[in-house]
Amino acid sequence: MGFLDTLLGRSKPVKPDLDRLFGLSTAALTLEAGAGFTPTGLGSVCFRAAEGGAFAQIQKDVQELLDSDEGPDVELSTDSYGYTWLLVKKDPSDVVGLVTDLHAVNATLEANGFGPHLLCSLVGFKGPEGQRLALVYLYKRGTFYPFAPQPGDKRDNALEIQARGAVGADLPFEEDLGRWFPVWGAPGL
C-alpha cells in the first residue's frame, strides 16, 4: 500500500494471480515421481460469497458452466467460517483437466469483479501409505504451500517439508512459513 493510501486510510483490494495455477499439472507429475504421491482427482476453489443478488447469480452461472461439460459435477458447500467451496471431481489421471476447471471457476469470478473474494484453490494428493496432502494456492500471494492434515487437527509438518523439497523447484513456493494457513476439513483433501 502506498504512502498516500495509508495517509488516507484506503486499502486497495488485492488482485488475484490466476495463471500460476497451471503450474500444478507439472508439479503433480514431479510429486508422483519424486515422493510417490498420486493425485486424488479432487480439487476445490474457496471464495468468500458476497451478499446480494449479483454474486448469487454469478455463483449459479459458474456452477452451470462446469456442470455443462462432460464428466462429474461440481459440489457446492459452505464451511463454518462462512466461505464457499466448489469441489471439482475428475478422473485421477486427468490433472490437466482438473486444473483447467479450477482455473475456469476463478476466471469467471474474476471477470465479474469478484476476484478479490478468492481465497485459495487446492488439489488433493494421496501418499503411498494413505497420507493426505494438498497443494494450496494462495491467489493474493501467487504462491503455493503444502497442507497435510492428520487426525485431531494436527499437521504433518515433516510431510509438508518433504513436499516442498519435491516440488519446490516447479512451483513458486510460499517462503514465509507463517502463511502456510491450515484449511481443516476443506473439501477435496
Partner: protein, 306 residues
C-alpha cells in the same frame, strides 16, 4: 479479459479526511510559530518532553494497550476458531498475520494495536466471542485488520502529537502561573504577560487540535468499516455485529465502562453507553447510524454490481 472492479473509492470520505489533516497541520504550524515568537527557549524543552511521551506511546503501543486491557496472546491451539478467521482474512488481504490476543472481560469489544503490520496485535474480548457468530466476528476482525493495514496507530499518534504538546504546556503553564508567575512584581514585568499568552495560545491550539483529531479518528473508523465490508463482501454482517455490540454495551454497568475509556481510540466501538450522549464533535467514533448507513450503501453496490 477486461476485469471489472466493484471497489469504487469514496471520494467524499477521502476529501473530508484531507481537509481535516490540512487543518490539523495548519494549527500545528501556527502554534509552533506563535510559541517560538513568544518564548523561544521553552519551546525546545516542551517539544523534547512531548516527543519522548509520543515515542514511548508509539514504540510500546502494543505492549501498553495489551497490558492495560489484560489481553493475553493465544496460540492457534488455544483458539483455533479465532485463528482460523484471522488466517483467512490475512490470506484474502495479503497481510502478514498479527498476534492474536484475548482479553477476559465481558464487555464485547475488539481492538488492534502496534505501530506496523509486523508488530500488530489484534485483541478481542471473551464477551465479543460469546455474542457474535463467526461471520459477524469476521467482519469485526476485518475492521481491526484494516486499522492495522491503514497504520492507524502511527497516523493517530502523529496527529495527536500537537494536542499532547499543547495540553502539557497549558497545564504546566497554568500551575506555574498560579504559584505566582502571573503576578510576580520583582521580576521582569513582562514574564507574567508572556506566561499568560503562552497558556492562552496553548489552550486554543489544544482545543482545536483535539476536535480535529477526533474528526480524523471518526473518518479512520469509517474507512476501516468500508475496507472490512469490501474485503469480506458482507457489509450486513458487520452492521449486525455493530448493532449487537453497541446494544449490549449500553446494558453494561458504568464502572466497567469507565475503566475501559482511555483505550477507546482503537476500539471497535467506543465503550460509551447510549445514555452517554456527548456531542458528536468530541467522540472518537462516528455515530452508529452513520456507520450503518455507509454499510448499507456498500451492500447496495455489491448486490447491484456497480
Amino acid at each position: 479479459m477486461a476485469t471489472r472492479t466493484r471497489y469504487a473509492s469514496d471520494r467524499g470520505l477521502t476529501s473530508r479526511m484531507l481537509v481535516t489533516m490540512f487543518l490539523l497541520g495548519l494549527v500545528y504550524v501556527v502554534f509552533v510559530g506563535a510559541f517560538f515568537v513568544i518564548v523561544p527557549k521553552w519551546g525546545v524543552i516542551a517539544l523534547v518532553v512531548a516527543s519522548l511521551f509520543l515515542l514511548a506511546q508509539y514504540f510500546f503501543s502494543d505492549k501498553l494497550t495489551l497490558f492495560a486491557m489484560h489481553g493475553r496472546t493465544v496460540t492457534a491451539e488455544e483458539a483455533p476458531e479465532l485463528h482460523g478467521v484471522i488466517d483467512r482474512i490475512c490470506a484474502m488481504s495479503d497481510a502478514p498475520k498479527p498476534k492474536v490476543a484475548i482479553a477476559d472481560t465481558d464487555v464485547p469489544n475488539a481492538f488492534a494495536t502496534g505501530r506496523n503490520q509486523k508488530k500488530a496485535v489484534v485483541c478481542v474480548t471473551t464477551g465479543l466471542l460469546r455474542r457474535l457468530d463467526p461471520v459477524e466476528l469476521e467482519g469485526v476482525l476485518a475492521h481491526e485488520m484494516a486499522h492495522v493495514a491503514h497504520k492507524d496507530v502511527a497516523v493517530m499518534t502523529i496527529a495527536s502529537f500537537l494536542g499532547v504538546c499543547a495540553g502539557l504546556i497549558t497545564r504546566f503553564g497554568l500551575e506555574w502561573g498560579l504559584w505566582g508567575g502571573f503576578n510576580r512584581r520583582d521580576n521582569d514585568q513582562n514574564t507574567g504577560m508572556i506566561l499568560l499568552a503562552v497558556v492562552a495560545v496553548s489552550a486554543v491550539a489544544y482545543a482545536i487540535s483535539f476536535m480535529l483529531t477526533r474528526a480524523l479518528s471518526r473518518y479512520r473508523e469509517l474507512s476501516a468499516d468500508r475496507a472490512a465490508a469490501l474485503l469480506t463482501g458482507r457489509p450486513s454482517a458487520l452492521a449486525s455485529a455493530l448493532t449487537k455490540v453497541t446494544g449490549e454495551i449500553a446494558r453494561i454497568p458504568t464502572n466497567d465502562l469507565r475503566a475501559a475509556q482511555p483505550f477507546n481510540a482503537f476500539f471497535f466501538t467506543p465503550a460509551f453507553g447510549k445514555g452517554f450522549s456527548i456531542s458528536n464533535l468530541f467522540s472518537t467514533h462516528p455515530p452508529l447510524d452513520k456507520r450503518l448507513a455507509q454499510l448499507q450503501k456498500i451492500s447496495d453496490q455489491l448486490s447491484r454490481g456497480v
